[in-house]
């Protein structure tokens, strides 16, 4: 995807300096953790490090205390 085709959010991200991006990323990371985001690797069967026996899909929406009460049709 060329820059011109990117969504506005990504264009704005690229307009930042590298250091500004790093600072913003720190904030996003803190928010992610505050919302209960998991630091486990995403299951990726195409990765050479993937171990089906230890890899899990993780808790619903990251936070261990959250449970899925209703799923959509698929």
């Amino acid at each position: 995807m060329t820059f011109e085709e990117m969504p506005e959010e990504w264009q704005e991200w690229l307009a930042l300096t590298p250091l500004e991006r790093f600072r913003q990323s720190e904030k996003l990371f803190a928010q992610y953790l505050a919302m209960g985001g998991s630091l486990d690797p995403d299951p990726d069967p195409t990765s050479p490090f993937y171990d089906p026996e230890t890899s899990s899909t993780g808790a619903a929406y990251g936070r261990p205390g959250l449970r899925v009460l209703r799923r959509g049709a698929v």
Binding site: T2, F3, F22, S25, P48, F49
Partner: protein, 229 residues
């Protein structure tokens, strides 16, 4: 290197881990282990920390416990497929300094692109984004090295067609090394897309072949640890 470097270069918004490419030396390993000790980092997967395994291309995975870095994963490698020795990577690195004087040493974008040419599907859009971000930032200041990088690594038909129009002599010269560049002159975006896809598949096959013996070793290490657990 890895996702954190991608944040600096504009190809990611955040990363859940820290990937370090490390100089393989006894002194450096001592410093690494001391730093990991300060973070109370424990190994979380095979293989164990062993310089000989790192030298063969394995990665060692740790997770920090306690403090600000609690839960953070740190992956360490000293050798990456089709990338030169650490000394060369270090000489080509990018350095960014913040207002407080803290410096961040990043794998160069060219080397990061190469490092991302893996069998993992999710790495390929990152390459696209890395090159596009680089072109967006520096397209107005082309140098022979930058033009060569864009022509060698762009993964968007529209960008390749634009580059061939803008730098026709360089694109022609480089087409012997990257044959799909010849398609860019005719503006054949669909054929380019197919050629780009084939290029990625070939590179993924190379990565799978590189990792096949290492994966077999990882499986043996896992079996041994489960047996010993």
């Amino acid at each position: 290197m890895g996702g954190q470097a991608c944040v600096f270069y504009g190809a990611a918004q955040f990363s859940k881990d820290v990937d370090l490419a490390l100089l393989a030396s006894e002194e450096n390993f001592s410093r690494l282990l001391a730093a990991l000790g300060e973070l109370n980092a424990k190994r979380i997967a095979v293989p164990r920390f062993d310089p000989a395994l790192l030298a063969r291309g394995h990665a060692v995975h740790f997770r920090c416990h306690g403090g600000e870095a609690d839960g953070l994963r740190v992956d360490v490698m000293t050798r990456l497929r089709d990338l030169p020795d650490f000394e060369v990577l270090w000489a080509r690195r990018a350095t960014i300094r913040d207002e407080g004087g803290e410096t961040f040493e990043l794998m160069s974008v060219q080397d990061l692109v190469q490092a991302k040419k893996t069998q993992r599907e999710r790495d390929w859009p990152v390459i696209d984004a890395l090159v596009e971000a680089h072109y967006r930032a520096l397209g107005g200041e082309p140098t022979p090295e930058r033009v060569a990088f864009w022509l060698a690594e762009s993964r968007t038909p529209e960008r390749l067609i634009g580059l061939a129009q803008r730098f026709p002599a360089e694109a022609r010269a480089q087409s012997s090394r990257r044959p799909l560049l010849s398609l860019a002159f005719s503006g054949a975006s669909e054929a380019l897309r197919e050629a780009l896809d084939a290029e990625a598949r070939a590179e993924q096959a190379k990565d799978r072949a590189y990792w096949a013996p290492l994966k077999a070793e990882l499986e043996a290490f896992r079996r041994a640890e489960r047996k010993g657990a």
